[in-house]
Symmetry: C2
Subunit: 250 residues, 2 copies
Amino acid sequence: MKKVRRAPRGTRKRDVPLTEAGIHAAALRLIDADGVEALTMRKLATALDANPMSLYHHVPNKDALLRGVARMVGAQFRTATLEDAPWQERIRLLATDFRTLAHRHPNLMAHSFGQPDFIQPEDPFWAALIATLDAPGVPHAEIPQVAALMCAVVTGVLIAELNGAMHRWSNLQPTTPGKDGPSNASPDEERMFRLVLDTIIMGLESRLTSDDDGQGPGRDVAPEAGPGPGEPIFVPRQQSVASSRWPGPV
Amino acid sequence: MKKVRRAPRGTRKRDVPLTEAGIHAAALRLIDADGVEALTMRKLATALDANPMSLYHHVPNKDALLRGVARMVGAQFRTATLEDAPWQERIRLLATDFRTLAHRHPNLMAHSFGQPDFIQPEDPFWAALIATLDAPGVPHAEIPQVAALMCAVVTGVLIAELNGAMHRWSNLQPTTPGKDGPSNASPDEERMFRLVLDTIIMGLESRLTSDDDGQGPGRDVAPEAGPGPGEPIFVPRQQSVASSRWPGPV
DNA sequence: ACCTGAACACCGTTCAAGT
DNA sequence: ACCTGAACACCGTTCAAGT
């Protein structure tokens, strides 16, 4: 009997040589199972039936490994652009596709959203978002800023979904605790996600179809909320302060 | 000469006994300086001129320490409610106050925003937000969900500000790189923050002042975006798809 | 070229022992 | 009651040595 190096209890891994892609895939499996902070170079090595130091021949360090995993997942974003649909529908599709991708790997995405470079200019998601915002007539110089705000808003809602904050906040009782039953109804996060999406689409629409020259009336109501030092493109059109009934449930 | 325990080079700390509050304050100083991931129980102990194990008599573990620091900072939220102003102004004030607090301790807040419990029901911020949303006539059962969405959107933008993503995204050139100068103009994040805020306030306003019964016309344009399994309160009013000119810069 | 064992410089935390 | 030294079970990573 020659000494054959193999996993002792029939786990049977590592008949294939180590690869950067294989390391990324195994790391993603561990992250999906136990979260990013539970991922360890040593645990990843044992999952691959390899020596911990062998990984460093294919990956420079742990940070680069995490970036590689995030880049690999980000490349899975589907690129169906829905070319001839109105821009509202295209933005809706982009956001919901992004959401399903986030929910497919929640542990990884909850971590990636905190990184400043989790969206790269060459990502298909960013390219599609830029192309979609080019359609409605936003001036070219403003497109990246509008796209950045869309990304920030959507990822903010997704972070709150992924880490459970949305669920906890939605179930915080307003004033009277323990009234009218347990009230543990599902927060229905998909419905809330669509609500935010529709709201910002409506706000964007309202700016695009503004009848005046962009300088809204009644600038005096909120004098401290002036246009600021930047260009005056995004000056907020002053809202009417009328408050009315909430649309009834039925 | 008796052996006096004192910092050897005149640093002169720890003439005061260890306290939970003192540990929290010192931890916040280190976090403000070097970030959350650079905070270490051992480094915190040397900053307090104490033995690392002494901290465990006042703080159960590192996680509880971080929660305590976050709670201490969250308690600094100013509680000026601006009672008689319209709800739009009160929401604006809440959001900008939250933003200045976030920018006062960016390292801590960028970390706290990823925690599911960084907003507690007894926080003055949450109480003020609930009270403000109670004014315009949102039904009580829906107030926590609207508040949760507001928190998610605002923290999403703040995360992107704090970690630099907003700055990076805003400077990504749309199609033609290297045109019309370096174009490294400041992204003017405060202006963008106000833009999102005004947009969601406008969206909320539009729902509150809706003339119809909440069931907008033209439900057939986006058939797959139906109301979903939840209650029909938040069914999106179907937008007009008209696209028009962006309001010109001048 | 690819892998590996030992070692280094750290962590958070436990525990028995001091005062 | 409060503090402390030693120790445990981990980390990421370096490096010289193997094949």
